[in-house]
Symmetry: C2
Subunit: 451 residues, 2 copies
């Protein structure tokens, strides 16, 4: 059990004459910042609740049994092991005390001279408790594992049910949100339906498996062009996905999804990919954008604060070239991380700071086997096999750690040529009522923890 | 939520004119039996609480961050997908009603004509509640993942502690039991200490990490020769493992291990590999051996029962060639599974049954990098690099599914040449007291479940 304390300096970080930068979050932005920061000028401490970096763009493949969780995660200590005067601490940040320049966490408190917020985003349920409690998000490794277990467990249950309505609700999948994550998950579910599950469940009629993708706006892939949205729509149709455009999920009770037009879909699995919001931190008072991101200037400094910076999804930077702010994507976070690190050095060298300007190299989304859409810088738009291969190449290139590149490439080859998925473990237990003995034990545990 | 019921035939198994064999457990014995049973003569139903087969001999590598959990498990549906008139059901068996030939489970009940018990063994804590609650067993995939998280978390904690005694207790590992599992885990921990952890934790002095292997008898690897035991002892020394022979763990309070000679080792991690016992099932009354296995005749029939069979670890078969019964090893289970399936056919064909006789092809245990011991049929004993390579070859050969063979081989190559371990995720949450909101939620959940 980790000691809880608000005493200063419990994290065993040595004192240093250099100013200390505390970075919260080892995502795309946080890692890039740490890699680029000059630790001869600063002492750097990275805090993350996990000991690993998650390659979020491939989480959906973990959720659909295509990749092992280990292959899309990288040990933060290992990735950054070459840095001197750098310290990683696995810690859950609970609050920031801006008056005393202190970060409070599950493992104690730490003083900072500069604070870099790189905590990314969390799922946005738009205040709906039912969505939050009963749907499946896909933002973290445990989420993806949970969804994978749910999908496989649904089929194990469907095999033993004789009520056709219940079987159908187990075989219906509703994915909310037509952005890249929603499109990718629906497509992957379509592939499972067509190629993988029929072999595993000869007793079930897999034609009954229905995948619904619900998008509130009038097109898919809102961040991309109309043309790409239409292509994605057409590709999804080929993977047997029912795409419902311009519809909004109004309610979900864990059994039935109700849309705004009154349509009802019985489904025991609702995947929530309808939006994200800034993962803001207790104690930092500042103006927030509609999607709860800190307003930052073009140097990523948080409004009303002198020594707090927010990069990536956490910062909302409106400028002439991006009046609506930048998209919440890895490249933005990475570029901001690099620039902020360089600007820290510029400050020390009494040089002029450089304002951020986003270099958009393009965007992509994959739908499934041989099918993706891509838009490159300069306006080139294309789809199909070539976009799919480009998507794979870029993701292999971007993922951290050489070992992961090999493992993922190997998995993809295997999945492609065998029409199989290698990782079909249900590793959460069957939900069952606790036995009387377990109930007593659970109550004691809670009592002890409350005390 | 799966319906609880004791009604018959809730599992949606079609009626058949053929006799029905229900097999409990998809381990080495259960799978072999199902593969070999003639389903033109019998309808076969396999029940397992997991949807996967676990390759237990490599669990220790999952526990020590060497392999992904997915690579040592195989989807039971996939392995057996070619069988006709065969049904797999993921179910937790709760009780057998021998008078009515019924198996009760978490997903309902099923009638059998013949019942094959292949549930293997569970960890034997010799009745000590402290050992059961506070130590780490290594029998199932979730166990191995839990131990992996514990090991990595210990080091994350050690980094932030300044009490030298607490740091030491986080860096001490006590492994109880000098059989193959205990030897393999200690050796793998030694490899972590020497090659992997120093790179991850430059702030810690890894020389402080102490691994203790405790064995009650006067030699390691009790199932093998004296010579192999001594070799294993020497190899473990080279991996910096403290081997304590002829000592017994008397008590463990979660913080300090107390041995029978009064020696105390402060250690927050105690790995329990000191013994197993039959995984017996509620409702089947029969004589049990000292290690709680059903006495079976040489046709694996359980004493006092006409249509219940126990194979592998669950059956205790004493015969002239094995007066103490057979070792609880995969080859015994597999050979018994094959023979029992053949004997079922012989019965139908009115042929004479064949009595079981164990073909011992030898045994092996690996200690670590380039070091293993092996004893082959015919008396050949050897150790070192060649034994280590043979060990790897045999395990690659035995593991189910071609994909797993490739993945494991690739991992081993990687681990060998990089002195690295690829899978260092801590995927259980930091233990922390529930928030007031969570406490309320937990209580409601329990109340609802009890109701």
């Amino acid at each position: 059990m980790v000691a809880q304390s608000t005493n200063e300096e419990l994290m065993q970080i040595p004192q240093s004459e250099k100013p200390r930068i505390v970075v919260i979050g080892g995502g795309f932005g946080g890692i890039k910042f740490v890699k680029k920061i000059d630790t001869t000028k600063f002492q750097v401490v990275l805090l993350d609740r996990n000991n690993y970096h998650t390659f979020q763009p491939l989480l959906y493949q973990v959720a659909t049994a295509g990749l092992e969780p280990d292959s899309i995660a990288g040990s933060l200590r290992k990735i950054l092991s070459y840095k001197k005067d750098f310290f990683f601490r696995m810690a859950n940040v609970t609050e920031v005390d801006v008056h005393n320049n202190l970060v409070h966490s599950s493992i104690g408190s730490i003083k900072y001279d500069h604070l870099v917020l790189a905590c990314g985003s969390v799922t946005n349920y738009f205040g709906n408790k039912d969505f939050e409690e009963k749907s499946f998000p896909v933002k973290q490794v445990p989420h993806a594992l949970n969804l994978r277990s749910q999908i496989l467990q649904n089929f194990e249950k469907a095999v033993i049910k004789n009520d056709p309505e219940e079987v159908q609700s187990l075989m219906n999948y509703v994915v909310v949100g037509g952005g890249p994550t929603g499109v990718e998950i629906s497509g992957a579910l379509g592939e499972l339906k067509m190629h993988v599950l029929p072999k595993d469940y000869p007793e079930l009629n897999l034609d009954k498996m229905q995948i619904y993708l619900i998008e509130g706006k009038d097109k898919l892939l809102g961040g991309m062009s109309e043309k790409s949205g239409i292509k994605a729509y057409q590709y999804l149709k080929r993977f047997d996905v029912n795409v419902l455009i311009g519809k909004i999920v109004k309610a979900y009770d864990g059994k039935t999804v109700t849309l705004n037009d009154g349509m009802q879909i019985p489904a025991q699995t609702l995947v929530w990919a309808a939006g994200v919001q800034g993962n803001i931190i207790e104690g930092i008072k500042s103006d927030l954008s509609n999607d709860r991101r800190y307003f930052v200037d073009r140097y990523n400094k948080v409004k009303n604060h002198d020594n707090i910076y927010a990069i990536g999804d956490m910062g909302y930077m409106a400028s002439e070239d991006a009046p609506q702010g930048h998209p919440m994507l890895a490249p933005v976070a990475m570029q901001q991380g690099v620039l902020l690190a360089q600007n820290f050095s510029r400050t020390m060298d009494n040089k002029l700071l450089k304002a951020f300007s986003y270099t958009d190299k393009g965007s992509m989304a994959t739908v499934g086997r041989n099918k993706a859409v891509a838009e490159l810088r300069g306006g080139l738009k294309f789809g199909g096999l070539f976009a799919w291969m480009l998507w794979m190449f870029v993701h292999l290139f971007l993922i951290v750690e050489f070992r992961n590149k090999i493992v993922i490439f190997g998995n993809w080859l295997w999945n492609y040529f065998t029409y199989d998925r290698g990782t079909r473990l249900i590793i959460r237990p069957f939900k069952r009522p606790p036995s009387p003995k377990e109930q007593v034990h659970l109550k004691e545990e809670i009592a002890a923890e409350i005390k």
